[in-house]
């Protein structure tokens, strides 16, 4: 090779032909365009708001509001914050009970679709095809109307099938329920401890079974442990009340430390997180031969992490309200826990409440002594449960079918029974395939609870709409919606991802 050729390849290209420069020029150009656009839009919005006598403040969260909610912890909220708290609790109630019910039903239907019994598999198919192909909104409204229009009317002397124990009416279904009393949380410490101990015992008995080969009844032992500790706690719970001192101490410490110390702490944590990310990133690029050549993309990532860390720190220092909000919440939580625990406070942890009909005005209502399911909750809950169950059923079926046929054959060739093959070989593998899409369905269920607005169930979107119809603060309400749903998505998907990583098959 001649000298001149080598020179030719070593000359730096002019800037307008440099790939890296062009790439970044395009990106920064687009970014600047977007920032300008956002600036125009925001200034327009501020002018519009001013013209209409509105502002971008958050006063509606603390100001008194004159709205009434259908159900929940505050049916007549004193402030926007209380209204949103109620809405969130209501939303989480439907989500949690919906996820449990949809999982059970969906798994049953999914397995039924693969049954060798023609009638069962066809019924399951019919269920899935019917539910999946009708808009969820119609289903929710249908169940709501079914209860409000066609259930029996509420009578004062509700005789019904089990007088005093069950009310079934257009205004809701009410059943007896065990309600926690003021000493419940003291007892709950024992329940949680019992569950933990039962888990330990269960594992120990399994180990024993594997070592000796004798039947050791791990399930019965675990149950016995749990019942023993929880039963003991029923009477011994006043001892756990001592925890109250601990919580009071923590609350006092939080209150004693000045806010600026927390501000500095959070700022430091923010910078530390950014730095840790950069360090880990560099570690991952380190090869035995030394640090790998970093691309401009890598520098961008590290730069972004650094900037985000610093920006977080700056936000914590510049806006003390954020820090005080966090410390206030923490102080509130510990002060609240302190109230729930009191050394040697006695009583029964659970109290039985039976449904009853009351007549506050001219018309009979269901009293709040039992556990009542309103038509709004019923419509939303049944709707999202059936809808999600149909999708879960398809996922379960697909997951089982996705396990290669050779796995069944190998199990059978070893002499395992069909049920053993299913339980020990097929299901554990199918579970790993099912998990990520199942997580997606849980997320969909959580988001679909927003359709409760169609039947006036007091969840976040419905309450938000009621609020902005009153105050005109649409932008703020929309930001609250977004923050909440994104948090729920983030939490649910991190749980699923964490679990998925734990059970993932080990590959080369």
């Amino acid at each position: 090779m001649t000298q001149s050729r080598i020179d030719a390849t070593q000359t730096r290209p002019p800037l307008w032909r440099n790939v890296t420069f062009l790439k970044w020029a395009t990106q920064i150009g687009v970014l600047v365009g977007l920032v300008v656009l956002a600036w125009i839009l925001i200034s327009t919005a501020l002018r519009n708001l001013e013209a209409q006598g509105l502002s971008l403040d958050w006063d509606f969260l603390t100001d008194p509001v004159g709205i009434r909610l259908g159900e929940g912890i505050f049916t007549q909220p004193a402030s926007g914050l209380e209204a949103f708290a109620t809405a969130i609790v209501n939303m989480l109630r439907v989500t949690a009970s919906g996820i449990i019910a949809a999982t059970i039903l969906g798994v049953l239907v999914g397995i039924s679709r693969l049954s060798s019994n023609w009638l069962l598999s066809r019924s399951a198919t019919a269920f899935v095809e019917t539910i999946r192909n009708i808009p969820l909104l119609i289903q929710i409204v249908f169940w709501f109307f079914l209860m409000t229009l066609f259930f029996p009317t509420l009578e004062v002397d509700a005789s019904g099938p089990a007088p005093g124990w069950l009310i079934v009416s257009r205004k809701g279904v009410s059943i007896p329920w065990l309600f926690p009393t003021e000493v419940f949380w003291q007892w709950f410490v024992f329940v949680a401890g019992g569950a933990w101990a039962a888990r330990r015992v269960y594992r120990r008995r399994i180990e024993l079974l594997e070592e000796t080969g004798r039947e050791t009844h791990p399930g019965r032992w675990a149950l016995g442990t749990f019942v023993l500790i929880a039963g003991l706690g029923w009477f011994a719970h006043p001892i756990a009340g001592a925890l109250g001192w601990l919580f009071a101490l923590v609350a006092a410490v939080i209150a004693a430390i000045p806010d600026f110390a927390f501000q500095l702490l959070f700022a430091a944590v923010s910078i530390w997180l950014g730095a840790r990310w950069i360090r880990r990133f560099l570690d991952s690029r380190r090869t035995p031969a030394g640090l790998a050549r970093l691309t401009d993309d890598d520098y961008f990532r590290m730069g972004l992490a650094g900037v985000l860390g610093l920006a977080g720190a700056a936000v914590f220092v510049a806006i003390p309200q954020i820090t005080s909000l966090i410390t206030d919440v923490a102080h509130f939580v510990f002060a609240f826990l302190d109230q729930k625990f009191d050394f040697l406070r006695t009583g029964v942890p659970l109290r039985l409440g039976r449904p009853e009909v009351v007549v506050p005005g001219r018309f009979p209502q269901i009293g709040d002594t039992g556990m009542t399911m309103t038509p709004n909750f019923f419509g939303l809950w049944v709707g999202v449960t059936l809808y999600t169950a149909a999708f879960i059923a398809e996922i379960v079926r697909g997951g089982i079918l996705a396990v290669p046929k050779g796995q069944t054959e190998a199990g059978m060739a070893l002499g395992l029974k069909r049920s053993q093959v299913l339980r020990m070989i097929i299901l554990p593998q199918a579970f790993r395939i099912i998990l990520p899409p199942m997580g997606n369905q849980y997320l969909n269920l959580a988001k679909n609870t927003s359709l409760g607005i169609a039947i006036a169930y007091a969840e976040l979107v419905q309450v938000g709409q009621t609020l902005f119809n009153q105050t005109g603060d649409t932008i703020q309400v929309f930001l609250i919606w977004m923050a909440f749903y994104l948090t729920v998505s983030l939490v649910l998907s991190s749980i699923v991802n964490w679990y998925n990583r734990r059970v993932k098959l080990v590959e080369r």
Binding site: L22, G29, L41, L119, N133, F142, F145, F300, F478, M482
Partner: protein, 579 residues
């Protein structure tokens, strides 16, 4: 050790199962093969019979107001759309029919079926009808027709299968022919039943238009060539939506003086466009890039100087053309296509902006769009618009440019993290706050955009899955042939990615169709809202909520179920979706 040598090879024998399985062997094999399955079967059968009887007793009770449904048929279809102008809707439908007919002639679905399958469907329908007849309350007037009709169908199917023998299993009937047969049958039925003339005449015409378009399409394919026709039809499909919405479903009162006032602006831009494309496609890469940079600045600048909206939009389109020109228009053929494309784009943009600024001449109170008509418009519009969004975001998320990746990932994850209803509220209530006073879009347009923005994020994830499923060798081969990134994406990877995820995309379209019902919450009168609020609140049909809801559920179910069955066929034909 003995050695065995077969004297000669034995011929294959027919399988022993060729002997027909008796009905009761089937029962034993499928319902009573073990004791617990037997118990399960009995319990289930009792449960199903009990549940079905209860449901039918509820649905067919004399208290139900099924009578309110037929008189409201027009309301379900179009809501308050002015009745004297209904011809516009029929013309709209005819346009779609023409496109469907031409498309079916061009793409020629090749599915085949057999007499055996059709007869089995007939027999199964008969069994179902007979079973329903047994389960309905004895007082129901339709009971005897169901029993008799069911029995006749069962007999027809069974005798047909027996008579056809093994020939019944041959798959020789084209699906298209079967579909045509079903349509003719449906026409015969509506002419036999006491259906209003204003319904059956237009529907007959629509079907005839469909058939005519299909018949015209066949020689057209031969004359024009399949490939050209496919491209043209794809464009027509995309254009059909704005044409239908802006031109047919409103009564545009075109402000000619405004249009004329644009001309001194539009004509120079058109000429500048020709020259720019010519230069960009001929000059070297760097010079073209310099020209593009100038044009981008100019396109942004016109937004800040007073000029007609149409010019601002035209400049943006021109930038798109010149950016692509050096890569795709460097050959003579490509250059010609770009010139034609730029002329067409100018024409259609002026045409659409003209219509968009035109007032509607329809005399109604409030929104004139509603019913099933609106539902389909939302679904079609949302789908068409979500494709560019989804593809752009997918490309952004898989791009090597970190800022684009960050922006697309942020968009996708945020939109997928929130419910559709909040996006609809965003478009309906929040967006107007960010626009200059006086500039607000129609509720339908806002809903279409919101649905497209939402669906686009999900579509992007599907397309990304497709892009990631393409073997690395494809990228390397394209690079080795000297393609630029844009060429590689447009010609090699994106087409493969889209083909690989067709089933997922169809699933997304189905769920988009169901999701259009949410617009009822922000106050649009779509089919669901007509059935839920508008009809049951008429004085004549008070208290018919459940009847209306069941009717709506059945209608949605029929459409969704047929989509999903069609997509299943498509999936099998393409042999994809088994990733």
């Amino acid at each position: 050790m003995t050695v065995y040598v077969a004297p000669e090879l034995k011929p294959p024998e027919p399988p022993p199962e060729a002997r027909q399985l008796g009905a009761w062997v089937w029962l034993r094999k499928n319902l009573f093969n073990t004791w617990y399955n037997g118990v399960l079967t009995v319990v289930l059968a009792v449960g199903i019979v009990w549940g079905a009887r209860g449901a039918f007793a509820f649905l067919l009770s004399p208290d139900r107001l099924w009578g309110v449904i037929p008189p409201n048929a027009t309301n379900y279809a179009v809501d308050v759309y002015p009745r004297p102008e209904l011809t516009r809707i029929w013309v709209t439908l005819a346009v779609v029919m023409v496109l469907v007919g031409l498309s079916s002639a061009t793409w020629r679905p090749t599915g085949k079926t057999s007499w055996g399958t059709i007869l089995a469907v007939v027999r199964a329908t008969g069994v179902a009808a007979f079973a329903v007849g047994l389960l309905v309350p004895p007082t129901f007037v339709g009971r005897n027709p169901l029993l008799v009709g069911g029995a006749v169908l069962v007999l027809l199917g069974a005798v047909g299968i027996r008579a056809a023998g093994p020939a019944a299993r041959e798959e020789r009937l084209p699906m298209l022919g079967v579909l045509a047969g079903v349509l003719v049958l449906a026409l015969v039925v509506i002419w036999l039943l006491p259906v209003a003339k204003t319904t059956k005449v237009p529907w007959t015409i629509e079907v005839l238009v469909l058939a005519a378009a299909h018949l015209v399409g066949r020689p057209l394919v031969r004359a024009v060539g399949e490939k050209t026709l496919k491209v043209v039809l794809s464009f027509l499909w995309v254009l059909s939506l704005p044409v239908i919405y802006l031109h047919l479903e409103r009564k545009p009162v075109i402000p000619w003086e405004v249009v004329v006032s644009w001309l001194p602006w539009v004509l120079p831009v058109l000429v500048v466009g020709y020259l720019a494309i010519l230069y960009a496609s001929r000059a070297g890469r760097e010079r073209a890039a310099a020209l593009n940079a100038l044009l981008v600045v100019a396109a942004l600048a016109v937004w800040f100087v007073p000029s007609p909206m149409v010019v601002r939009l035209l400049m943006l389109v021109l930038v798109g053309f010149t950016l692509a020109a050096p890569t795709f228009a460097s050959s003579g053929n490509g250059r010609r296509n770009f010139m034609v494309g730029w002329s067409g784009a100018t024409f259609f943009l002026v045409y659409f902006v003209t219509l968009a600024v035109a007032e509607t001449g329809l005399e109604t109170q409030g929104d004139f769009l509603g019913g099933l008509n609106l539902t389909f418009l939302l679904a079609l519009g949302g789908m068409l618009l979500s494709f560019p969004i989804g593809i752009m975001m997918a490309l952004g998320r898989t791009s090597t440019m970190p800022i684009f990746r960050l922006l697309s990932t942020g968009y996708i994850e945020i939109v997928r993290g929130v419910p559709l209803i909040t996006v609809l509220f965003f478009a309906d209530k929040v967006v107007p706050r960010f626009l200059p006073p006086g500039l607000d879009f129609d509720g339908v347009v806002k809903a279409i955009i919101a649905i497209a923005l939402f669906s686009g994020a999900y579509l992007a994830e599907n397309v990304r899955g497709g892009l990631q499923s393409i073997p690395k060798g494809q990228y390397e081969a394209a690079r080795a042939l000297g393609m630029t990134t844009a060429q590689m994406t447009m010609l090699i990877t994106l087409p493969q990615a889209l083909r690989a995820v067709i089933p997922a995309i169809v699933g997304q379209v189905i769920s988009l169709f169901k999701d259009t019902s949410l617009v009822a919450i922000i106050g649009l009168a779509d089919f669901f809202r007509v059935a839920r609020d508008i009809v049951p609140n008429q004085p004549a049909s008070l208290g018919s909520q459940i009847e209306n809801l069941v009717m709506a559920a059945v209608v949605y179910w029929i459409f969704t179920f047929s989509f999903s069955r069609a997509s299943l066929r498509l999936e099998r034909k393409l042999g994809v979706g088994t990733r």
